[in-house]
């Protein structure tokens, strides 16, 4: 790289989490080109303790597709989006994804609010900045936003907002709210 502006390229990642069918894929697709990224889930731990030297491990794996999106802010500054299922069995991916992550969007559906509890717990424990986006299935309203905040027992600082993940403008607003929240968290931490 003999470019004059030889600043190191910066890559950031944002996680999109939430329960089954809550709108993760739709959100990623609304603001970026979406591609399926294949990962492997280890189904059994029988490989542990098996010597690697024979070259074959007794692991059973199944492929899990994650939503993968990319937003190029400018050359050398890219935001990657990863949408992962919220169930605990997928946490093997989350540990990696949340490392160094800028933040996370937890999508909530008021009809099945408990589905997003594991995601919220997870990010609270990891200290990953997150926002809760209430997807407006069946006319969720401002009232639902307040209910969600109480039901999830969120810290005051955690933004909760209504969204329609099918609309690009709404999806954008969610992302902006998250990055602003990350920025506040960052400056507060000094």
């Amino acid at each position: 790289m003999d470019s004059v502006l030889s600043e190191d390229p910066v890559a950031l990642k944002i996680l999109i989490a939430g329960g089954f069918g809550v709108g993760k894929t739709t959100l990623v697709g609304s603001i970026s080109e979406i591609k399926p990224l294949r990962t492997e889930e280890v189904l059994s731990d029988r490989g542990i303790g098996v010597d690697d030297l024979d070259g074959v491990e007794a692991k059973t794996t199944t492929t899990v597709a994650m939503d993968f999106g990319r937003i190029t802010i400018r050359e050398g500054l890219v935001v990657y989006l990863f949408g992962t299922p919220g169930q605990e069995r997928f946490w093997f991916m989350w540990d990696e994804l949340s490392y160094g992550a800028l933040g996370a969007v937890v999508i909530a559906d008021t009809r099945r609010l408990t589905d997003c509890f594991p995601s919220v717990d997870y990010f609270e424990q990891r200290g990953t900045p997150f926002v809760v986006a209430v997807n407006c299935f069946d006319g969720a309203d401002q009232h639902s936003v307040d209910d969600v905040r109480i039901a999830l027992d969120l810290d005051d600082g955690v933004p909760v907002m209504l969204c329609d993940v099918r609309r690009r403008a709404s999806a954008k607003e969610v992302m902006i709210t998250l990055v602003e929240h990350s920025l506040r968290t960052l400056t507060a931490a000094g």
Binding site: D8, P9, A11, L37, R38, K59, G100, L102, K172, V179
Partner: protein, 120 residues
């Protein structure tokens, strides 16, 4: 099989055996490659490279993320990491960690991201 044997010594550069690269392995030096680390092809690819490895070097002619390589090859990330680890061990790709991984992204960058998102 009937190819003229090639001289392979220290000066001949890296030798990468086709397919032997990942068969049966689930661990390699590529394990720690971040999904959003950037890889770039470097050096001269040897002639006897496996098709997947050759494809990786082709898609990595311009810097590309590990995740994007997996998407391009339509292979699971785990397999791609093993191949990338080997290619790196053979000096055929260079890897640069995402500047923000593990450390906190700076304020200026985040402001830039916010403005960039607004402008989308």
């Amino acid at each position: 099989m009937s190819e003229t044997p090639r001289w392979l010594d220290e000066d001949a550069g890296p030798v990468v055996r086709p397919y032997a690269l990942i068969r049966g392995r689930t661990r390699s030096s590529g394990d720690n490659l971040d999904l959003i680390a950037t890889v770039s092809a470097v050096g001269e690819p040897p002639a006897d490279l496996g098709p997947e490895q050759a494809l990786i070097l082709r898609v990595a002619r311009h810097p590309i993320s590990v995740a994007d390589v997996a998407v391009e090859l339509d292979l699971p990330v785990g397999v791609v990491r093993v191949m990338l680890g080997d290619l790196r061990d053979h000096g055929l790709i260079s890897v640069s960690a995402p500047a923000a991984a593990g450390s906190r992204p700076n304020e200026g960058i985040l402001k830039e991201v916010i403005n960039g998102l607004r402008a989308l």
